[in-house]
């Protein structure tokens, strides 16, 4: 629906009157402000915008937005949002979740929302820790993590959220981080504009229970050498002077190279629109954790009909073919007989 008369709004219009209650210094503040900065630019209406969340620190997000919102149950936000988005295709439905919420207790709902390509914008705040329950390791924590529940170090291997989303057939997968507002705003914009399920991993610092988890890659002095910006159609390179790059490793994967060593032509050109997700996946495997050079930006953005539109198409086809359902005829659709 084209809406010519969308009122002009400012960031303030999108903020609710509720006091924001994350810990001072939490990365969530900058993500909230990036979203509130972006929304006035999208030409959408507040009343048609819904934020749905599960449980966890990130899940308080809807309370701070002056839109419709639901703070639901641990892990279930993608399921609840699926019902809303499918039954109300006119709405802009956002899911705000964390690494525990969406990759542990809600892992099943996340992968199925992605697989179905439900028209949702999913922002996954990854701080690699359980914050609200005061500091247990999460499914994205590095092996050996010492926490209250793992005093001798955690034993289980973490998920790579971008790899997981790609494996779940996501049509839009991106990564950004809480220290770069401009990058967040642009990444969220792309995610919002994508029709279908968009998954954005946001590296987010928990300054109380996991402070500095991403410092090695997104600390001001480290960024140039440790973040690999992905730009569609451009050779993948990074470093203050673009001296590092990404090239094929000859075995179906990718490797980090020095441009001076291999020459510019050896660099891989980023193509987020490849239907085959192999390149995106290889990019997601470049770093084993946020201590090695890590790609940020849009890994994958491909077109596939979203689930809700397909549902509506079936309804429309049925009505075109058979006419709108009539209750009295339905009751008489089996064998009937009359008594006088």
């Amino acid at each position: 629906m084209t809406d010519l008369a969308v009122p002009v709004t400012t960031r303030k219009d999108w903020a609710s009157d509720q006091e924001v209650r994350w810990c001072p210094g939490c990365g969530d503040y900058s993500i909230l402000s990036a979203v509130q900065l972006l929304l006035p630019e999208l030409g959408i209406r507040r009343e048609n915008t819904v934020f749905v969340s599960g449980i966890g620190c990130a899940a308080r997000f809807p309370y701070y937005m002056n839109t419709y919102g639901m703070h639901s149950i641990h892990g279930r936000a993608p399921a609840i949002a699926t019902g809303l988005a499918v039954s109300r295709p006119d709405l802009d439905v956002w899911v705000v979740t964390g690494d525990g919420d969406s990759l542990s207790i809600g892992g099943n709902h996340l992968v199925h929302a992605l697989r179905r390509n439900v028209n949702l914008t999913i922002l996954m705040f990854n701080n690699q820790i359980y914050g609200l329950t005061k500091g247990q390791y999460s499914p994205t924590s590095e092996v050996g993590k010492i926490t209250k529940s793992t005093p001798f170090g955690s034993l289980d291997a973490p998920f790579n959220p971008v790899s997981l989303a790609l494996g779940a057939e996501a049509t839009f997968v991106a990564r950004t981080h809480d220290l770069d507002r401009k990058h967040m705003v642009e990444t969220f914009r792309r995610a919002h504009d994508h029709r279908g399920a968009s998954f954005v991993e946001v590296y987010q610092n928990c300054n109380v229970f996991n402070d500095g988890a991403f410092e090695a890659i997104n600390g001001k002095e480290n960024r140039a050498d440790m973040l690999i910006p992905l730009e569609h159609g451009q050779p993948i390179r990074f470093g203050a002077d673009g001296e590092h790059g990404v090239a094929s490793d000859g075995h179906g994967g990718l490797r980090l190279v020095e441009v001076a060593d291999v020459g510019e032509d050896a660099l891989v050109i980023h193509d987020e629109r490849q239907v085959n997700p192999s390149l995106a996946f290889a990019l997601s495997r470049l770093a084993t954790g946020p201590h090695e050079p890590t790609p940020i930006g849009v890994f994958r953005a491909v077109e596939r009909p979203d689930y809700g539109s397909l549902v509506d198409q079936q309804l429309l086809e049925a009505q075109n073919r058979q006419g709108v359902g009539d209750l009295a005829s339905l009751l008489r659709s089996g064998a009937t007989w009359n008594y006088d």
């Binding site: 449980i55 919102g69 279930r76 609840i80 992968v111 309804l315 009359n338």
Partner: protein, 645 residues
Amino acid sequence: MTTKSKLANEPGKVETIDQIVIRFAGDSGDGMQVTGDRFTDESALFGNDLSTFPNYPAEIRAPAGTLAGVSAFQIHISDHEILTPGDAPNVLVAMNPAALKANVNDLPTGGTLVINVDSFDERDLAKAGYEANPLKDGSLSAFRIYEIPMTSLTIEACKPTGAKPRDAERSKNFFALGLLSWLYHRPIDDTESWIVRRYGKAPVVAEANTLAFRAGYNFGETAEIFESSYEIAPAEHLPGTYTNVTGNVALAWGLLAAAHLAKLPLFLGSYPITPASDILHELSKHKKFGVRTLQAEDEIAGIGAALGAAFGGALGVTTTSGPGIDLKSETVGLAVSLELPLLIVDIQRGGPSTGLPTKTEQSDLLHAMFGRHGEAPVPIVAAKTPSHCFDAAIEAARIALKYRTPVYLLSDGYLANGSEPWRLPDVESLPDISVEFTTEPNATGADGEATFWPFKRDPETLARPWAVPGTPGLEHRIGGLEKQDGIGTVSYEPANHDVMIHARAAKIAGIAKDMAPVEADDPGGKARVLLLGWGSTYAAITAGVKRVRKAGKSVAQLHLVHLNPFPPNLGEVLRAYEVILVPEGNLGHLTRLVRSDFLVDAKVMSKVEGTPFRVGEIQDAILLEIERLGSPQAARGQSTKEAAL
């Protein structure tokens, strides 16, 4: 079964009987459910009253010929009003030794056995665990036995189709159907055209089934092994249009009707589970009604999606059975907290855990009532017959929408798969259950501006306003955290929590004001024993009560549809009786509830065998209670004494 003989003009004797109970039993691959369904449709078209009870194994294809693989379909047809599929069959059709062995104990002395004798070879007898052939060792001497080589006659009849004997043999259920159709004077034209419709895509199969069906019918007419055939006159019926429905189909149609009456789109979030899946299947067919069905990734997502749709202004429904109910509990709790309309349909089956997936039970009532953490009251509506599932769905939706609450709608495996003729309601006469969305601010903020308070309750119903996304100016956030009364923002304040808990409880309790008072069915008002029931026991209790009254004794009956809250005058009604007997398919769920709510000495009559109560069991239990009471004086003395204790 009463019979009166008459000589008809046609060759062969015809007897008129007033009712008959037939059980078709065979291997689960033998098509017994199809046979039963067709016999049901023929009988319905003919005008008999009827009630059916399919009984099939949980395994889709247990090893052929074994007891584990026996599938059965029982049908009760009559020339008068009946309610149950019959306590025991008068006729057992057994397609193989396992079917005989699994069912013959239910056949009373003098009952009729129709046997597919071709299957009684050494191999099949061994598979069924028979050491000797029961047809030859005299163990079946109490029955009237008809041994018919159904397999070979079917293969012979199907020769013109060119089908291989192995394939042709599969039509033997239609031979049995044809034979029984002849024996009980069923109209057969409809079945013949049905076969063509159903199997039209495989013409050889359609032809084989038709030929087998005719062969069975003709065999009955010409073989002269039956002494007579039987007529059962059509029953008297209220005028109207009838159809035969199973509980699950009626429930699905009830949901479509509820959405239509509420003027809301229907959204079903569901996960496949026996015996509820047929509701998902049925609703998935009716896209032209605009119903959106989502086969979710799990039970939790099924109800989650339904709740999300409800937030968006749809009639949100989830359908499941016991194991699914366990998983959905957290979302039911959220819906209680959010105060959004939601229907949770529970087709109960034998539990605990996986239990008896294909067998009936009524053991989820206390889960529906209490199965959530915190103070989380949920209204409960229970269907009592297959066709009543339609009305119960509308009533459950009405309560959910009006009071903005999740509602449990309980049915069970017996109702779900059982069928009965249903006098179709006039669609125009169905209630309007529509509610208004809130579109305007309802409060004034601290700044003096008009604002929206999502938890400002209607003073009458205590329901909160339902403002759906897309409504300008009413943007609001709701969640599972406790909310400040009225304004609806998060509140951890102790006194407010107390207010909200009481408000939610009062809202649900207040639904009773919205119900008609109940009245026990107590002709003459002399009964001292009351039969109190809920759900699918309705048929057996009603039939049992009728028999007792026929024998000249007084007994009262009350069947509840609303289980939470109870009807407003229930305590008063119960206290008028000296004995309250509660037949239920559990160890005493309703019994506990009425005892604790009303301090009455209700007694449970339990049955947890995966099958419905038999009428005879109910009848005997009532008579025993009446006998125990003895003379009115003695009984009064005793009950006073008990009360004093």
